[in-house]
């Protein structure tokens, strides 16, 4: 029988993690705001740079990574908070697993929590490797907090045993892969949106226009080329994982339902998601599709993933309508 007291501890820890993430988000935003004031001075220089780059090949050298500003205390504190929230988050999932005597990704509540953990982990790895500035945290933590909030309020399920259909060792493999890919894809979707924002911001500057909100947020973002590359590398990581998740799901379906593929709504939407990400990978290598069009494909693919998860599980009747 599940241990309810332990389960409640896990829930409380997840709540704490959300609060800490939210604080981290504010910290990142604070750092951005203070930097914004300073950056206004160098705006003229940045503009001339952009004009130089216009029309030529995409410039791979990050234009503004030369940070001469002294490191902001708010930003460092926010990063520490994120790390702290991450530890609490991990602990809450581990405790959840012990409370339910199984892997902690057996229903939508747990799945969301685990997927968000993957996204935060990915972000921290990118910051640690120096691929992105930690300032991106303000934009990354917002969807993470919303996503977890939704999980803890609407999708909440107390720790309990699995329905028989899920009772297989495949849940460890198939769902773990799906969680990893989903968390990464969602992060890449956010980065792709930020890329679109930033590239529009660059266009406005190139046209010598004053960008208005929300395009003006582009000033806070890494260069478009960096965002494009980050979004690509996340998808390049997640796509094989998703492919594996779908295949593992098919193998599981074969042993549970007697066929490896049956166009069940979940299967259909996983297929659509897969096809769209395959489209993204091809688009990024095709002339005329690079850049913004490819980014829109990545956003559409993340949209399909969200439908695959929320809409199919909650509103569509199918073999996956449990949990």
């Amino acid at each position: 029988m599940p241990n309810q007291a332990l389960g409640q501890l896990g829930d409380a820890l997840l709540f704490a993690a959300v609060v800490v993430y939210a604080l981290a988000m504010l910290g990142f935003a604070g750092e951005q705001a203070s930097r914004k004031a300073r950056r206004a001075v160098t705006a003229v220089r940045a503009e001339s740079k952009v004009l130089l780059g216009a029309g030529g090949p995409p410039v791979l050298v990050p234009e503004e990574t030369v940070t001469v500003e002294r490191p902001s205390r708010a930003g460092r504190f926010a990063l520490a908070l994120t790390l702290c929230g991450w530890f609490i988050h991990v602990t809450s999932l581990v405790i959840r697993g012990f409370a339910a005597h199984r892997v902690p990704w057996g229903n939508m509540y747990e799945f969301s929590s685990a997927a968000a953990l993957v996204a935060v982990t990915f972000f921290l790895v990118l910051v640690a490797r120096g691929t992105v500035e930690r300032g991106l945290g303000a934009f990354v933590m917002l969807p993470v907090v919303l996503y977890l909030g939704l999980a803890a309020s609407v999708l909440y399920t107390a720790a309990g045993p699995l329905v028989p259909a899920l009772n297989s060792y495949w849940i460890k493999i198939h769902v773990a892969a799906a969680v990893t890919a989903s968390g990464s894809f969602l992060l890449s979707g956010v980065v792709a949106l930020l890329y679109l924002l930033r590239s529009r911001y660059d266009d406005r500057l190139a046209d010598r226009q004053q960008p208005r909100f929300p395009v003006s947020l582009g000033a806070q973002l890494p260069p478009a080329a960096v965002l494009d590359r980050v979004s690509y590398s996340i998808i390049a990581f997640a796509f094989p994982v998703w492919t594996f998740a779908v295949i593992a799901g098919a193998i599981w379906a074969e042993s549970a339902w007697g066929r490896y593929w049956g166009w069940d709504p979940k299967e259909t939407w996983s297929f659509i998601t897969w096809v769209l990400y395959a489209g993204y990978l091809h688009a990024r290598a095709t002339a005329g599709w690079k850049g913004r069009k490819a980014a829109w494909v990545a956003v559409a693919a993340a949209g399909a993933l969200i439908i695959d998860y929320y809409v199919v599980n909650i509103f569509v009747v199918g073999l996956h309508s449990y949990a």
């Binding site: 791979l60 329905v163 290598a285």
Partner: protein
């Protein structure tokens, strides 16, 4: 050291260059153009998006192959739009002509793209790395230094620093290349997609799926006639059915206190034709495998045991009646037809409730899927069942047009109780047994599909994570002066990581060179 745009690096691709206009007067010109259009990346991309778009209705609307009942309901509630949608195959998306057209075109385009690419890749694997470009300094990454070593010494150092690279030395120049597996993986992935389609087709043509409902104590054999529902492939031959039979000893389900199902077990005995009978436990995720045939447990429900006697007290019917569950708590419905009670025909519409509750208005319901307080509630009809006409009838529906109700109220029976009918006949609800639905499948394409799946993942990993790159070394020897070493490199992807790798190789070459 500088990093330039990766535009330049795209020269490393083996992707065929776009070809211009066709020759004039070529009778096959338009055909060639069409083929080129179809196999172009743009078209493939468009088809890929079309494929995703075409699947969308299949992800939202009920599909006939999955749930024919819900399709009928949907068309029933959407009187005007429903039939039109049906004519557009919106309830059979994945077998519709337009869906097939899209994926067939996509696969033709894929094959058309794969063949020349495979040829080019095979050629690239055989050819030596290309000559050193005229200007090494103009490559995306490059370096240059002077040393006192001889050309041979520099070359030896370079070779030692380039383990795992394919190398060719041309006098004072060295060309190196690695990462051929990227394109190999890419090709393997796409070929696997074609193989997957072949596997699916094999299953669809030569496979078979049969579903049968079995009550406790009864069984079935793997023959066409046994199945309630049969979906054979177009080229399926009944002789490929594995000869075996299964008997359901007892079905068993356990539930948590909140009604969530914990376990489903079908305890069976099975035997090959003329073989010994063996016990097995068919569970969800645990099918019975006999040769190429797999038997799955896909459904279950209750089957009240009834005994019907005629006016003389003689037993005319003694059987288990499978009731179909309508709610998660297993409020189930069934129909009982009794044409053989002397002189009269009786029909019953029945509700079976495993854990019975009665609301304020006297309606019965079930509050729990387990068997705690079972009641069989019967509405009896007398008259003509219409079974003598020879038209086949469903055992789950009762046509009461030629019948009249026996009582104004439904009659509730507890286990062991008897319903006395007018004219002296009676129906006794003895006790409750269960039934299970089994699905037997044979899919000859499954293994092919699995191999394809492995190829897809393997190919994908190679094509996404192996980096193709080239590196060149040129040694310039001036009379009496120092030797100059020029090194340059080019990578198609991940220019940053290549820059690091390049720097590492250069350092290795220089440090070992200087040490002499």
């Amino acid at each position: 050291m500088t990093i330039q745009s990766d535009e330049e690096a795209s020269r490393l691709s083996t992707q065929p260059k776009p070809v211009g206009q066709t020759r004039r007067g070529d009778p096959l010109g338009p055909l060639r153009m069409g083929w080129r259009q179809l196999t172009s990346m743009r078209t493939a991309l468009l088809l890929l998006f079309l494929l995703a778009l075409a699947s969308v209705p299949g992800g939202f609307l009920p599909q006939r192959r999955l749930n024919p009942l819900r399709v009928t309901q949907y068309i029933g509630t959407h009187q005007t739009l429903g039939p039109l949608m049906d004519r557009l195959y919106l309830f059979d998306v994945f077998s519709s002509p337009w869906f097939s057209a899209i994926y067939l075109l996509l696969f033709i385009s894929l094959v058309g793209c794969l063949l020349p690419r495979t040829r080019l890749h095979l050629r690239a694997m055989r050819t030596k790395p290309p000559k050193v470009p005229r200007s090494v300094a103009k490559l995306p990454v490059s370096d240059r230094w002077e040393t006192t070593q001889s050309t041979d010494e520099v070359m030896a150092r370079a070779k030692a620093s380039l383990r795992g690279w394919r190398l060719v030395r041309r006098d004072h120049e060295l060309s190196a290349e690695r990462g051929y597996l990227r394109e190999t993986g890419n090709l393997v992935f796409h070929v696997s997609l074609v193989v997957l389609l072949i596997g699916i087709a094999l299953g669809a043509f030569g496979g078979f799926k049969g579903t049968v409902l079995v009550v406790d104590g009864k069984g079935f054999s793997n023959t066409i006639a046994s199945y309630d529902d049969l979906q054979p492939g177009r080229r399926f031959s009944p002789s490929s059915l594995v000869p075996f039979s299964v008997q359901l000893d007892a079905f068993e389900a356990t539930y948590a206190p909140d009604g969530k199902a914990l376990t489903f077990d079908a305890h069976v005995h099975w035997a090959r034709l003329g073989g010994v009978s063996k016990a097995y436990d068919v569970r969800v995720n645990h099918p019975l495998v006999v040769g190429a045939a797999k038997t799955y447990l896909i459904g279950h429900g209750y089957a009240p045991h009834i005994v019907v006697r005629d006016s003389t007290g003689q037993v005319v019917d003694d059987r288990l009646v499978p009731c179909l569950p309508q709610t998660p708590e297993f409020l189930s419905t069934c129909v009982i037809k009794e044409p053989n009670t002397t002189g009269q025909q009786f029909g019953f519409r029945a509700f079976f409730t495993p854990t019975t509750i009665t609301d304020a208005e006297g309606r019965v319901g079930s509050s729990f899927p387990g068997l705690k307080n079972p009641v069989l509630t019967l509405t009896a009809f007398v008259g003509d069942l219409g079974v003598d006409g020879g038209t086949p009838q469903s055992v789950y529906s009762l046509d009461t047009t030629a019948m009249k109700r026996v009582d104004t109220q439904a009659h509730a029976l507890l286990p062991g109780q008897t319903y006395r009918l007018p004219g002296g006949a009676s129906l006794t609800y003895v006790d409750t047994q269960q039934w299970a639905t089994f699905q037997v499948t044979q899919d000859p394409g499954k293994i092919v599909a699995l191999i394809a799946a492995v190829g897809m993942v393997g190919g994908l990993l190679l094509s996404l994570f192996v980096r193709r790159r080239r590196l060149w070394v040129r040694v310039g020897v001036a009379e009496g002066g120092p030797t100059t070493v020029e090194v340059g490199g080019l990578a198609r992807t991940d220019a940053e990581r290549f820059a690091d790798e390049f720097a590492g190789i250069v350092t290795q070459m220089r440090t070992t060179t200087v040490r002499e």
